[in-house]
């Protein structure tokens, strides 16, 4: 029998330590698929962030580096400039990218650095146990906002695609989700674009992915995927925020 769908060789055989229903694994699988389908596994260097996906350096079947919290875009820049023939992707969570690493992501985007950013937005600090993230929704409970995010005290969430779309630099900015098969397919397309852009030396591409964190949301995986639809997407609308490839046509 022919295998239609199965674990791609772009992933190692290591069993992933994410919680049941976590969206990281879905995005990992998509990237693992693309490393093979785009024939880039052997020239790719991936960046694993600090956070739940720190273990990504064990999961992606390519060269990997694990830098300080938030500095993925800077490390990516160093690798890409030192080895322009390598494909470089930085995998980052919302604490990593939108809190401690805000300066690095903004400036990498402004430079239109020819790298691919995979940004997992699950509105919470996962690994440290569910604290308020820069993306935590107004009213949403976290372990450091137990009454819910109070915009008077903790301010508003950061909408990263919209923020970066204010810059002239970035080539491709898109927000997708992985809570339904249809959204997963759209994420596959977006990530493919983000890697192809780099292969074609187009510049900075970021895919922001709304993803489930059932453990820290205090929900079942099934409740989580519905919450992404019903609540998260209202605050973080899906879609392309920049696509220079289309503008150029």
């Amino acid at each position: 029998m022919k295998q239609l769908f199965g674990r791609p060789n772009g992933l190692t055989d290591v069993l992933q330590r994410y919680c049941p229903g976590c969206g990281h694994g879905i995005v990992h699988r998509i990237i693992g698929d693309l490393l093979i389908k785009l024939n880039i596994r052997e020239c790719t260097v991936g960046i694993a962030p600090v956070g739940c996906s720190v273990f990504a350096d064990e999961y992606f079947n390519c060269d990997m580096i694990q830098p300080p919290h938030g500095r993925g875009p800077a490390v990516s820049t160093g690798i890409k400039r030192a080895r322009p023939d390598c494909i470089v992707f930085s995998y980052q969570g919302d604490g990593d990218l939108a809190a401690i690493g805000t300066a690095e992501i903004v400036h990498a985007a402004a430079r239109n650095e020819n790298i691919t950013i995979v940004f997992i937005n699950n509105a919470i600090f996962g690994m440290t146990g569910g604290q308020l993230a820069p993306t935590t929704l107004p009213g949403m409970k976290s372990t450091t906002s137990v009454q819910g995010r109070d915009i008077k005290k903790q301010g508003y969430p950061i909408k990263v695609c919209e923020l970066l779309a204010g810059l002239d630099g970035p080539y491709y900015l898109v927000r997708t989700a992985v809570n339904t098969p249809k959204n997963v397919i759209n994420t596959e397309k977006a990530l493919k674009n983000a890697f192809v852009n780099q292969i074609e030396n187009k510049g900075f591409s970021m895919v922001e992915i709304l993803s489930m964190c059932p453990t820290n949301w205090g929900m079942t995986p099934v409740q989580s995927k519905k919450w992404v639809d019903d609540t998260m997407m209202k605050y973080y609308p899906l879609g392309e925020y920049r696509n220079r490839a289309k503008e150029e046509k």
């Binding site: 390519c62 060269d63 580096i65 300080p68 820049t77 690798i79 080895r83």
Partner: protein, 355 residues
């Protein structure tokens, strides 16, 4: 004879870095080292190297982490507050056993301090600097010539031991002009072989991972013990120093960098008045030249440590001499630079007046 050129110390570093085959610089402006990125931007452009003016020193050190992990010689320069910002990155780089070169043109501190020359980052440079157990190889040049020569030495040591290397200069060394002799043939970076850890894409080999963490029980401890062996080897084999007039000395001054130049003038004043004074100039601050000092302390009763700080290297001198000798100190913190007469005065006070 090789070519000689009158140069700023900060420009000499740039030529030294390029001659060492480095084609990657990332840095952020800060006085008194701005001549380095300015001149570097011109030179890298000429030779097709990478120059990035970063959004912060944090970004700079992490770009270095990336470039060096990719197997390329990479350097940054900054001054004290900027080096403080880099410490997290240096700790990660040390923990991942990756060689990089960081130049610190020290200024007066703490805080914003001032832009005058200082040596107040000695502890930071020689005791690790950031979090965790680690050391960085630290070189202390005292002339434009050494600023040209030490980048090559620093890269070689960094790569030999897979460890970050620092060059400690100060505003005075960086901004003075001296003749520099281009003593060695520039290295073509293409002739440097790819290191065993280099991230370059896993074609034809197993994939590589560069990281500083390990959560398996006991594994991180094991990694740290391994690194200690490396540090011990560096301490055994890489102590560098210059000893001037030490053979018959009743008093030996210990000073590095700018201070060593000032002290050199002071010992000449003292010698002309009949005082037997020598100068020991540590060239590696880590590893500190313990062995030579331990030997000297068996016969020399008085040592005078001169630093442009409140007294930091003096701790290492006391440890090396194991309390066998009397250790005196003359320091000028906050951007103060000692003069030969004030050091000579101190010499006279120690030795009990002119003979």
């Amino acid at each position: 004879m090789s070519e000689k050129k009158l140069m700023y110390g900060n420009h000499a570093i740039v030529e030294g870095v390029i001659a060492a085959g480095c084609r990657f610089f990332a840095g952020y402006p800060i006085t008194p080292q701005n001549e380095i990125p300015e001149f570097m931007s011109i030179r890298m452009n000429e030779i097709g190297g990478v120059f990035i003016q970063t959004e912060s020193e944090i970004a700079a050190i992490n770009m270095l982490f990336g470039a060096a992990a990719a197997g390329k010689r990479a350097m940054t320069s900054s001054s004290s507050p900027g080096i403080s910002l880099m410490q997290e990155g240096i700790s990660y780089i040390a923990g991942a056993d990756i060689p990089v070169l960081v130049v610190n043109v020290i200024r007066g501190g703490p805080g914003l301090g001032n832009i005058a020359p200082a040596q107040s980052d000695y502890y930071q440079a020689t005791k690790g600097g950031g979090h965790g157990d680690y050391f960085t190889i630290t070189l202390a040049p005292n002339s434009a010539q050494e600023l040209y020569e030490f980048p090559k030495l620093a890269f070689e040591l960094a790569e030999k031991y897979r460890n970050p290397a620092l060059i400690l200069a100060d505003g005075l060394l960086g901004q003075m002009m001296e003749p520099v002799e281009f003593t060695y043939k520039p290295i073509d970076p293409d002739t440097l072989s790819e290191p065993s850890y280099a991230l370059s894409g896993c074609k034809g080999r197993d994939r590589r991972v560069v990281r500083s963490y390990d959560l398996k029980p006991g594994k991180l401890e094991e990694m740290n013990w391994q690194r200690l062996k490396k540090y011990q080897k560096i301490q055994e084999t890489e102590q560098r120093f210059e000893a001037t007039d030490c053979e018959d000395a009743d008093l030996i001054i210990i000073a590095y960098g700018t201070c060593a130049r000032v002290c050199d003038a002071a010992i000449r004043m003292a010698r002309s008045d009949g005082h037997k004074v020598g100068l020991l100039r540590p060239i590696t601050l880590w590893p500190f030249p313990n062995n030579v000092l331990a030997g000297m302390s068996k016969t020399v009763r008085n040592f005078l440590v001169v630093e442009m700080n409140m007294g930091q290297m003096i701790d290492d001198v006391k440890l090396a001499t194991e309390c066998r000798s009397k250790i005196h100190f003359h320091g000028r913190p906050g951007g103060g630079v000692p003069t030969p007469p004030e050091i000579y005065e101190k010499i006279q006070a120690i030795l009990g007046g002119a003979r």
